[in-house]
Structure formats: structure tokens, C-alpha cells
């Protein structure tokens, strides 16, 4: 413990060097701005900035990129809350209740809670990273394809609880998402599926253009279709600050979200995306008033926002402790230190203590910077809503197109976004909930791949799922969840949905 403290002090001595501090600050600002661009998320942000770090020293490079990373994670929530445009997959759930709050004139509290939740989750994550990185990392390595399959199945079962509408409509949307996820090259065999000879579709349909289209563009279209244009909001100062009741409601979701997000975040792979979905499902399940979810429940912002920020920090555990790139973002960050001749690996913490501890300390600093930077900015951001829709929406549309295009310089992504905007518009007119589409699209390909990888490992023997303790535990938990979700369908008994008047018919 004393040793950890000494190392941390050494880390702070690195992080408080004026130059490092300055870059951490810059990183957070750039990240927040990038995250606020519709369609541009953390990955796009740090990929665009990576070349600029090649000339810096490795500590500054990684501090700058980390600042961009969590700045963008946070910035994504701003557009989700204010304009229903998710900057990246992890903020899809924030759109649902955050935007509902904005429509009720409560954008201020939503943004403030997102900032506070992110700060708490980020700090919690850094403490976890600092104290337990090597232990957790070796645990994370035990997550092979069978464990991953079990985890994703659990995530899918959460779907049943997620949506506000009827179970059938939820499942229909989840299936639509799964079907979209079928497009692209099959990793196991090399076949291209449903690509119609369009090379770009070989990679499948990206989550970002789909999410921006389904949520953002459809919102713009729906607003345009209203007879009376929505009233321009004039928030007063008092409306910006969360009330005591808001804070009280948010404490639980923030703590649960932080723990859940961190645990999911350390698992190698892209599973961290599901942390915000799972957190939302849990909060709704635990809530005494689940009917408030989808209609501006502050817990629906606090939980998922904390979860995705904790997951972002958790992802650094295997990266720093083992030197393995666990996802696209950490792969880029590893590249940033590799170009400086530092070989990431299990010895990184011993061989480069100032890099590791400087990084950890800079994450404490970065989280404070984000909070200090963003809480006062809430007022400014909310004032964006004062802009009349006739000017605001064309600008947003232009930024959506720019953002989508710039991620991989692909016009195909822009088309996907626009088509999905139309699809989203029609579906919302018919009262479908769109979050399950995003979840299906994210989970489908991951689940298929890990299931088939597991079977490739075992030579086609399904027993692999019951021979491995972690996998079997998660599967049993998932099956219990599934049983609970199916109960009302089978026994025609009352689901919580009908008991709160959300769903009249379940059949």
C-alpha cells in the first residue's frame, strides 16, 4: 500500500509538470469538442490525433490521447442529451431519457448528472486500475470465446427489460438490429453476406452511422413534420442545477453503473458497449417507477453514463498490465507508445514506471479537469437550445453528414446514416422503440463470432460452455433472466409493463 502511495506520488510529480498538465487539459478540451460532433466518437478522435503525437514524448502522447478519449466519452453525452444524437454507441441509452429530459426543459440537470456521474465513475475506475491492474488483468485473460458468448447472451436477455413498449415490438426491433448485423464478411469463412458487390459493405454496417441516423436524423424529420414548431427553450439559471431529489435518485445508479462498467470494461474485446445497455436495464428493473424510464428518468442518464465512463477506464487495465490491445481505442493508444520505441507487454509497469504512474495520475487530473470544464459549460450548452429550429436543425444535419463521412472517409457511411434516418422516422411514427436496433446490431456480430470461435475451439462440442466455470455461471444467470422475461408470455400473467399501464396487450 505504502509502495503504491509512493509510486502514485511519483506519478503526480510527472502529471503536474506544467507541460504534461497543459496537454492533459488540451486533450480534454479537444476530446469534448470531438465528442460533441455528431458521429465522431472517441475512436475517431484519437485516430485523427494519433499522427500529431508522434513528435511528442511518450508520456505526453498517452496523456493527451487519454484526455481525448475520456473527453470524447463525455462530450458524446452532450449531443445525446440536447439533440438526441449519439456521438458513439455507448451513449445510445443516454439519448432515450436524456433527450426526454431536455424536452421537459430539464437539460441542465441531465447534463450536470452526466458530468458528475462520469467524474465519479472515472475516478472509481482509476482507483481500481491503480490498485488491482495486474490481478484484474490476469482474470480478464480468462475471458475466452465461451465466456464472451455467455456474457453477450446475458446482455441480450437484458433486452427484454429495456424497452418501454410492447415485448413484441421490442423483439421485432432487436431482430432488425441482428439482421443488419449479418451484413458483411463472415470472419469464420470469408464469405461476404448481403453486400451486393459493394466493397464498403464487406465490413458490415457501422454502429455510428446507424445510431446517428436512427436517433438524430429521425428526430430532425419528426420535428419538421410537426404542425407547430416546438417552442424554443429559455432555461433559467435555476433549471440548470439538479435538485436534491435528482441527486438522491442518481446516487445508486452512479455507484452501480461504475462498478458494472468497470467489470465489463476490463474484459478484452468490445463488450464495453453493452455496459450502458445493461446498466439501463438494471436501473429500470430496480426502479419503483419503471414507467418513468423513457420519459425523462434521471436514473436513465446517471446509470449508463457512469457505466460507459467506468468501462472506458477499465479498458486500460489489460492494455497497461499486459500490453494487449483490447479494442480499437486501446490498439491506437498502444501504437502511440510503440512508435516511441516502448514495447507494451506484461513488463510495462516495471520497466516504465513513470509512464504507468504518470498516466494513472494524469487520469485523476483529467477527470477533475473534465468536471471543472464541463459543469460551468452546462449553461452554455443548454443555451444552444435557444437557437430557433429553422437554423439549428440544418446545422445539425450538416454536422451529422460531416462527422459520419470523416470517420473513414466513406460516402457509404453517409448513405447508411441517411437511409437509417428515413427508416427511423417511419418506425417512430408507428411507435417502435429504436434502442433495441442499436443493441442488436452491436451484439449480433459479436455473439455470432464468439459462439463460432468457441465451437472452433472445442471441435464442435457444445459441452465447452458447461465445462468452464465463468461461462456456466453467466449462462445460468442469463437463463434465469430469460425465464423471468418469458414468464408473462407463457403464463399470461401480468408483466410490470401492464401493471403500470405501458402495455395493454401481451401476445
Amino acid at each position: 500500500m505504502g509502495e503504491t502511495f509512493n509510486s502514485l506520488m511519483m506519478g503526480f510529480s510527472v502529471a503536474f509538470q506544467p507541460e504534461v498538465l497543459m496537454y492533459a487539459f488540451f486533450g480534454c478540451i479537444i476530446g469534448t469538442l470531438v465528442g460533441m460532433m455528431p458521429g465522431l466518437g472517441p475512436l475517431a478522435g484519437i485516430s485523427l490525433l494519433l499522427p500529431a503525437t508522434f513528435g511528442l514524448n511518450p508520456i505526453i502522447a498517452i496523456v493527451l490521447l487519454a484526455g481525448v478519449y475520456y473527453g470524447a466519452m463525455y462530450g458524446g453525452s452532450t449531443t445525446s442529451i440536447l439533440m438526441r444524437i449519439p456521438g458513439e454507441a455507448a451513449s445510445v441509452m443516454t439519448c432515450v431519457d436524456g433527450y426526454a429530459m431536455t424536452q421537459q426543459g430539464r437539460a441542465g440537470p441531465a447534463l450536470a448528472i452526466a458530468a458528475i456521474g462520469s467524474f465519479f465513475a472515472g475516478t472509481f475506475g482509476v482507483i481500481g486500475l491503480m490498485l488491482m491492474a495486474p490481478t484484474l488483468a490476469s482474470f480478464a485473460l480468462r475471458f475466452g470465446p465461451p465466456e464472451y458468448t455467455a456474457l453477450l447472451l446475458m446482455g441480450l436477455f437484458v433486452l427484454a427489460y429495456m424497452s418501454g413498449g410492447s415485448m413484441l415490438k421490442t423483439l421485432a426491433m432487436a431482430v432488425l438490429g441482428l439482421l443488419l448485423g449479418m451484413i458483411g464478411i463472415d470472419v469464420m469463412s470469408g464469405y461476404t453476406r448481403f453486400s451486393f458487390d459493394i466493397v464498403e459493405l464487406g465490413d458490415g454496417v457501422g454502429i455510428v452511422p446507424v445510431a446517428v441516423g436512427l436517433f438524430g436524423i429521425s428526430e430532425i424529420l419528426l420535428t419538421a413534420g410537426q404542425v407547430d414548431p416546438p417552442k424554443v427553450q429559455q432555461p433559467t439559471l435555476r433549471q440548470l442545477i439538479p435538485t436534491k431529489a435528482d441527486l438522491k435518485l442518481s446516487v445508486g445508479p452512479i455507484m452501480r453503473g461504475s462498478l458494472l462498467g468497470f467489470m465489463i470494461g476490463i474484459i478484452p474485446g468490445s463488450a464495453h458497449i453493452i455496459s450502458s445497455f445493461v446498466s439501463y436495464g438494471i436501473e429500470r428493473r430496480l426502479s419503483k417507477h419503471p414507467e418513468r424510464f423513457g420519459n425523462g428518468a434521471i436514473e436513465g442518464v446517471a446509470g449508463p453514463e457512469s457505466a460507459n465512463n467506468a468501462a472506458a477506464t477499465g479498458a486500460f487495465v489489460p492494455m497497461l498490465a499486459l500490453g494487449i490491445p483490447t479494442g480499437p481505442v486501446t490498439a491506437v493508444m498502444l501504437a502511440a507508445i510503440m512508435v516511441h520505441g516502448i514495447l507494451p507487454g506484461p513488463m510495462l509497469i516495471q520497466q516504465q514506471p513513470d509512464l504507468f504512474w504518470g498516466f494513472v495520475a494524469s487520469m485523476y487530473v483529467g477527470n477533475v479537469v473534465l468536471l471543472v470544464l464541463n459543469l460551468p459549460m452546462v449553461g452554455l450548452f443548454v443555451n444552444l437550445l435557444r437557437i430557433p429550429y429553422a437554423y439549428l436543425y440544418p446545422c445539425i444535419l450538416a454536422f451529422c453528414i460531416l462527422g459520419c463521412y470523416s470517420v473513414s472517409n466513406s460516402t457509404m457511411d453517409v448513405w447508411i446514416m441517411l437511409v437509417m434516418g428515413g427508416v427511423g422516422y417511419v418506425l417512430r411514427k408507428f411507435g417502435y422503440d429504436l434502442a433495441p436496433v442499436a443493441l442488436g446490431l452491436v451484439l449480433g456480430p459479436m455473439l455470432e463470432l464468439s459462439l463460432r470461435q468457441s465451437l472452433a475451439m472445442s471441435g464442435g462440442d457444445y459441452a465447452i460452455f458447461v465445462q468452464r466455470p465463468i461461462a456456466v455461471t453467466m449462462l445460468v444467470m442469463g437463463l434465469i433472466l430469460l425465464g423471468l422475461a418469458l414468464k408473462p408470455l407463457i403464463f399470461k400473467s401480468k408483466d410490470w409493463r401492464s401493471s403500470v399501464g405501458l402495455d395493454k396487450t401481451i401476445d
Partner: protein, 325 residues
């Protein structure tokens, strides 16, 4: 009909060549764009960036990197194959450039590009891969790997960066040459493939020296044999497949290409530029930092190299055939 099309294509090409000849004295007269068909941070990117900086110094013109990732490199490769052949659009491709059209052929797909749409300019770097096993596997030599696999046919498993990918090809070469059967667990990239091996979910994998070195030093992976023609300078104790009696060689290389119709005079300027660039001390220094050995070959030799590699890999793709259903 076909003839007319062909003739008009030639006519257009000739016209383009004429325009380019007029412009040749001034090439490069403006900024050059180097397409990297992979995301930032990959092998192609960390090779492309120092090359671009060194070329800037030679040409006194900006050379900018443009990442066009997607479809395992096919999108960026195709973009340059169909670009205006004026020398201002170049491609930093990896060895996978020869495999993609072969896989397209196998699946009867309309190919995104073909190799003869691209003119090789220079090979920049080449790195052999090394066979590594999880330390829990009771083998230390290639002979023991083969003996164990024969004892448990189809029981040992290996992870790769994807089917027909840069790490799948060498494994199939080995398995075919030694007549072995193993379970193949494809993943979505070099990083995930390594993670599966480190977690012990598979027993072995082919890995690039830069990716595996720190894990080998920490005792988390055991190197067995290399696909290089000679022993790797950082792995003097690891024998080559050739020494062990198997005539298989495999390198992951990065090289510069231009659209095939680029005028000869422009290609010559580019070749001379690259020759100077690879001798730039700053370039050498940067490549050493990322553990990427410079392996320069000028256009004629590089063309032969690509040709040999394409033949070798096409044979492997045919042997593997269609996987799955």
C-alpha cells in the same frame, strides 16, 4: 465491341500519358497523397508515416497520409488502383494485397481490384513471422509440435487475425507442408489473436516479432520456429523452417505502389525519391523504434518479389479452399 472498349481505353491511357509527359519536368509539382488502407497505428501506417516524412524532404513537396481502412485493406487498395495515374496518389500496401484478389476469385466475387492495376515502386520493409506456443504446451521444438499434433490429430488449436489473413496464410503453409490438422480460431485482428493465445484459449499462433517480443521476454509465450529465410536478428536461437526441413518462407511486408498507367518518367522520379528516403537517418531511426526492419528493394526486384509472393500465396489459398459451409 470488346475491342472498341479496349482501344478506347488505350486511347485514353495514351492521352493521359501525353499530358503527364508534358508535366514531367515539374513532377512532383504539388502535394502527394499516400493512401494507407488500414487504420492509424497499424504496420502499414507506422511504415507509411516515416516514409512520407522522408519523401517530403526529397521532393520538397508535402506528402500526406490518407487512411482508407476497410475490408482488410481492399478499399484503400482499390481506391489507388482506380485513381488518376499521375503519381500524386500512392499506396502503402501490405502483403495482403496479393491475397485479396485470390480470395475474391475463390468466392466468385467481383474483385475490388486486381494486382495488374498497380505498379510496384519499392519494397520498404519485410518482417518474418514466428510460431509461438502457450508455455503450458509441453513442446520446445518444431519436431515436438509435430509429434504432439500427430498424437492428438485435430486437437491442437491456433488463432489468427482472420481467415485468409496475414497470420492464417503462414499457419496453413506449415500445416500443409507437415500434413497436420489443427483447429483454426479466427479473430478480428492481430491483437485479439494474440490475446486468445495469451489466455490459453488456443495452443499456438503465428506472430510478428514486434508484437510478441515483450511477451516472450516475460515467459508468457515460447517461440518455436520462424518463417524467415534466415534466423531473425532478435531471435538468434529460433531456427527457421528451412533448417528444419520444410521449404516454407513467409514475410509480412510493406511496399509502395502507384496506379499501373502512371507514366514511366514519373515512376522513375518516385523510385529515385524512395531510394534516397530509405537512406535518411531519421527514417532509419524511426523504423528501428517500431521494430520494423528496413528491407529496401527497387521496382524491378520488388515486382519479382511481389510476383513470387502472389504465386506462393495463391497456392495456399487454393489448398485451403473455401472454409466452412
Amino acid at each position: 465491341m470488346k475491342n472498341i472498349v479496349k482501344r478506347s481505353v488505350f486511347a485514353v491511357m495514351a492521352a493521359v500519358a501525353c499530358v503527364a509527359v508534358q508535366a514531367q519536368e515539374t513532377f512532383p509539382g504539388r502535394a502527394i497523397s499516400m493512401v494507407v488502407p488500414f487504420p492509424p497505428g497499424g504496420v502499414a501506417d507506422v511504415t507509411g508515416r516515416p516514409t512520407a516524412i522522408a519523401l517530403e524532404k526529397v521532393f520538397k513537396q508535402p506528402v500526406s497520409i490518407s487512411n482508407r481502412p476497410g475490408a482488410g485493406g481492399a478499399i484503400g487498395n482499390a481506391a489507388v488502383a482506380n485513381a488518376k495515374p499521375d503519381g500524386y496518389t500512392l499506396l502503402m500496401a501490405l502483403s495482403s494485397i496479393t491475397v485479396i484478389p485470390e480470395a475474391d476469385k475463390l468466392f466468385n466475387r467481383k474483385p475490388a481490384y486486381t494486382l495488374d492495376q498497380l505498379a510496384p515502386i519499392a519494397l520498404i520493409s519485410a518482417d518474418p513471422v514466428i510460431l509461438v506456443v502457450h508455455p503450458s504446451l509441453p513442446v520446445k521444438t518444431l519436431k515436438e509440435v509435430i509429434a504432439l499434433s500427430r498424437k492428438q490429430p485435430g486437437e491442437l488449436s491456433y488463432s489468427t487475425s482472420g481467415v485468409y489473413g496475414a497470420l492464417h496464410m503462414p499457419m496453413e503453409m506449415f500445416l500443409h507442408a507437415a500434413q497436420l490438422k489443427m483447429r483454426h480460431v479466427p479473430t478480428t485482428g492481430g491483437g485479439p489473436a494474440l490475446t486468445q493465445l495469451l489466455g490459453g484459449h488456443v495452443t499456438m499462433s503465428a506472430g510478428g516479432p514486434a508484437a510478441i517480443t515483450s511477451h516472450v521476454k516475460a515467459g508468457k509465450l515460447r517461440p518455436i520456429v520462424t518463417w524467415g529465410a534466415e534466423r531473425h536478428p532478435n531471435y538468434k536461437e529460433v531456427p527457421t523452417f528451412k533448417e528444419q526441413g520444410y521449404d516454407i518462407v513467409y514475410y509480412i511486408w510493406a511496399g509502395l505502389f502507384a496506379p499501373v498507367a502512371t507514366p514511366e518518367s514519373v515512376i522513375k522520379v518516385l523510385r529515385d525519391g524512395v531510394r534516397q528516403a530509405v537512406n535518411d537517418p531519421e527514417f532509419k531511426n524511426q523504423m528501428a523504434k517500431v521494430n520494423s526492419p528496413i528491407n529496401y528493394l527497387d521496382a524491378p526486384d520488388f515486382a519479382k518479389y511481389v510476383d513470387a509472393d502472389a504465386k506462393r500465396l495463391a497456392a495456399v489459398v487454393k489448398v485451403v479452399g473455401k472454409v466452412g459451409p
